[in-house]
């Protein structure tokens, strides 16, 4: 299950963060997202060491904690997407598919003429789309 997703601007300013748990662990999840940003920077600055295909937007598993797996994605415009899940057995294809759909939703949200670049994303349409993408995580490419 996806417990948290986040969009973070190129100066590490949060643009959107949403947790999807019943439990009152938003603070903990925000902390995990925050810590993952350094890992993203490190990955991007040392692509060889981290075994990434050169400059691919999908950064893969950033780090596993005891209870969570954290994945990252960096757009060409230096915006970071972070995904936190409690699933232990996560397929790469599912995560890639998630980020692709998430990216498309993000691009539409910032295409709103009233969205100010670098400011938080407040769009209701975006929130709804994200919630649908989160719900269908791992389902669409099953089988």
């Amino acid at each position: 299950m996806i417990v948290c997703v986040a969009v973070v601007g190129h100066q590490n300013n949060p643009l959107y963060i949403q947790s999807f748990t019943e439990a009152d662990d938003a603070l903990k999840l925000h902390h995990i997202v925050h810590c993952s940003l350094d890992v993203v920077d490190e990955r991007v600055n040392n692509p060889k060491k981290s075994g990434l295909t050169l400059n691919e937007t999908f950064l893969g598993l950033l780090y596993p904690t005891e209870n969570y797996k954290v994945y990252g994605y960096l757009t060409n415009t230096k915006v970071k997407f972070i995904l936190v899940t409690t699933d232990l057995d996560v397929r790469d294809a599912d995560v890639r598919n998630f980020f692709r759909r998430f990216h498309a939703a993000y691009v539409d949200a910032v295409s709103n003429p009233f969205h100010v670049p670098g400011k938080k994303i407040t769009s209701r349409t975006f929130a709804e789309r994200v919630s649908n993408i989160v719900k269908s995580f791992g389902l669409s490419s099953a089988g």
């Binding site: 060409n76 415009t77 230096k78 990216h103 910032v110």
Partner: protein, 169 residues
């Protein structure tokens, strides 16, 4: 394939946008009109670069980003690529479009017809105002890709149009 509209829509809109800013809102301060038209282009370029770089690896350097503007980005907007790219290898790039579509289609601009100045200079003035829009688009696109720059247009060899990009260091 994505959604499309008739080319007359964008032509009509751009002509009217330029004429509104130059003849109605800022008729006595062309430099302010120019700045507004450039700002409109900047927003469009910023948003388009976000869209058109989806599903594409990140650019490693300035040249790669500029090549993207010349090829994919230009093709999306004008169904053709930039014809010639030159650089002095010190942060200046010149992108030449041999037949810039927006100029070749703007002949019937009514703002040109009712001036007291001689029509040719009025037409050149309207044209240079109009070009702030694509300059803004390029600057917006590159700045969103992390490349702050200044962009100007040169129409000394019409119908070719050159866009000069100076990257700020």
């Amino acid at each position: 394939m994505g959604r499309e509209v008739s080319e007359s829509c964008i032509d009509g809109l751009l002509t009217e946008m330029v004429s509104s800013y130059c003849n109605r809102f800022y008729s006595n301060t062309p430099e302010l009109a120019a700045r507004r038209i450039e700002a409109i282009g900047y927003q469009v370029g910023h948003q388009l670069s976000e869209r058109y770089t989806m599903e594409r690896p990140r650019f490693t350097d300035h040249l790669e980003a500029i090549k993207f503007i010349c090829k994919d980005f230009w093709s999306e907007l004008f169904k053709k690529q930039i014809d010639n790219l030159k650089t002095n290898h010190r942060g200046t790039f010149v992108l030449q479009d041999n037949k810039f579509r927006w100029l070749s289609r703007m002949s019937g601009d009514p703002s040109v017809e009712n001036g007291t100045q001689d029509p040719e200079s009025k037409a050149a003035q309207a044209m240079s105002m109009y070009l702030y829009f694509p300059c803004g688009i390029i600057r917006g696109a590159l700045s969103n890709l992390g490349i702050p720059c200044a962009v100007s247009a040169d129409i000394s060899s019409l119908p070719a149009c050159s866009f000069v990009i100076r990257i700020k260091v």
